[in-house]
């Protein structure tokens, strides 16, 4: 007993010396992370969380309102809104993650190359970016979806087309400042190839802004996906997209507003969560907020 108790005070002292990471002291960041994590978990475990079959209609109970049987009530066909909500999360989150990942990869590669090599490479790539930025995004997205047809991957790809430019511009500007840093010069002096320099020296120091953009981008992508569904360009029914529920629910606003309110609230909370996460990460990763040595 005494032997076991011996190291305890030391351990306690060690524990007290642990500084809480700054991340855990920012309320918006925690809230954003919790909301985002909840939505993503709901999306992943949708089959286990859903209480009813998606297409199971219960006509006598349509527009039932929240009850023990249907937690969030039912829609115009008597389908369970809770179940449709969590499956809707699955669609929104999947599209958002695909769109953001592809945009970030494409934009980052273009930004790194344009910023590092400069000259006509930069000119060419940045004018290309300007061309994409020149189109009104909604028109561009609608045009792409109209051409390639609705579908999960197609919607995601159409979002990539409007969102990769942001990453390209931000990464280009961080690359421009990083390539003048002495550690990049030193890497060149020891004979590192441009690819190695971009991958090992520039990219790791550009990750902060990319991560911030990506988490904000998830929110934006979800809004886009909902807007497309709202306009009828998203996944076709009976896919339980939030945008479609919101749009279709407006027809029954007078008799029963739940259908629109629930899906609208889902969109709002999700986007809020990702935006809080993004803003929190921005504060956390902003070099001006970083203090060395001090907590």
């Amino acid at each position: 007993m005494t032997d076991a108790a011996q190291p305890a005070p030391q351990a306690a002292r060690a524990r007290r010396r642990i500084r809480w990471p700054k991340a855990l002291r920012s309320a918006p960041l925690i809230a954003g992370a919790l909301i985002s994590a909840t939505i993503i978990l709901l999306a992943i475990f949708a089959p286990f969380v859903a209480t009813h079959d998606l297409t199971q209609m219960d006509m006598p109970n349509r527009f039932s309102g929240p009850s023990a049987e249907h937690w969030l009530g039912t829609d115009n066909f008597g389908r369970d809104l809770w179940s449709r909500l969590v499956y809707g999360a699955r669609i929104s989150v999947t599209i958002a993650i695909i769109a953001v990942t592809l945009s970030a990869i494409i934009g980052t590669v273009i930004g790194l190359v344009a910023g590092y090599f400069g000259g006509w490479v930069d000119l060419l790539l940045m004018r290309l970016t300007d061309i994409f930025l020149g189109f009104p995004p909604l028109v561009l997205v609608l045009a792409v979806v109209a051409v390639v047809g609705p579908g999960l991957l197609n919607v995601a790809l159409s979002l990539v087309i409007v969102s990769w430019t942001e990453y390209a511009r931000v990464v280009r500007s961080t690359t421009l400042s990083l390539r003048e840093q002495n550690f990049v010069l030193a890497a060149r002096a020891i004979g590192a190839s441009p690819a190695r320099i971009l991958w090992r020296e520039v990219l790791p120091n550009s990750l902060g802004p990319i991560i911030v953009l990506a988490s904000l981008g998830l929110g934006t992508a979800i809004i886009w996906e909902s807007a497309l569904s709202f306009l009828g360009f998203g996944l076709p029914p009976p896919a339980p997209t939030w945008g479609w529920s919101l749009s279709y629910g407006t027809r029954f606003m007078r008799e029963d507003p739940w259908m629109s309110i629930i899906s609208g609230a889902a969109i709002m909370v999700t986007v809020l969560g990702f935006n809080l996460l993004g803003d929190g990460l921005r504060d956390l990763l902003d070099p001006r907020h970083q203090t060395r040595g001090k907590s």
Binding site: Q181, N182, F183, L185, A186, A187, R188, A189, I190, G191, A192, S193, R196, R200, E201, P204, N205, R292, G293
Partner: protein, 334 residues
Amino acid sequence: MPLDATAPPAGAADTAPLLSVEDLQVHFPIRAGVFQRQVGSVRAVDGVSFQLGRAETLGLVGESGCGKSTTGLALTGLIPATGGAVTFDGARVGAARGRDLARYRQRMQIVFQDPFSSLNPRQSVRDILRAPLDIHSIGAPAERNEQVLAMMRRVGLRPDQAGNYPHQFSGGQRQRIGIARALMLGPDVIVCDEPVSALDVSVQAQILNLLADLQEELGVAYLFISHDLGVVEYLSHKVAVMYLGKIVELAEKADLFAAPRHPYTELLLGSTPSLDPRKRHGFTAQSETVPSATHKPSGCAFRTRCPLATDRCASEEPPLVPREDGRLVACHHR
């Protein structure tokens, strides 16, 4: 140890200089207007020539903006030279491509002034020091970490700090890391670009001693760039004084400090505070304004500040010529 392999045998008499620089020029274009036409150029380095032998230190001194750092960057190939010839160990460097250029880079390294921006904050010391070995495939991959630890010991860092990141070190320690990185490839020449200017005086001495020890052990030559004459005097064998992109005087250290010949050298030495009031040089500049490298004065660039300036200085540029005592001076009057 690959480091020992590249060091010259002790006592080997080298007649040909290791590094020979002739008429090196670095001009930066100035562009203006809608079409970015070139309207002029900044002649940062404007015809610099010198030679550097094995295990030798050449101090390169001058005011801020005189082109000394640019000279160092151009020699290491980090900015392109616009003219001149660099011969390294008997081979023209300008013509080097691919594998030859890689060889040259391997043998010519650089240590930067700022110990904070010269190390990637996202890499541990081990990553930083391993990179040169990985890039040039030196040694078996499994042994590279051993080499890193050996180098850390050699420059006075604790090997158990190999996993630490740059922000966990002091300025002096970071500069040791920078020196270690430059040494990993076993170079013959290291360009030291103001390596101690950002450090406290007590730490400066430690780093200077380290550089001196490494030179003795490894036979590496330094091009030691600094504006601090005291530091240059401590470490250099020969000293070159630069003014507006040109060398105005090049001499053995003892000669230069005992009796500066070029008026600018005299001015520089006179501007160093000395503890001995009798040692003060009775020489002051005519003007404190340094002409810009875009619009250099005609003839001798220093004439606008020189007390000895005559009409000849305005019309005729003095060449850098050898004098009877072996030093090179570019002045009509001295």
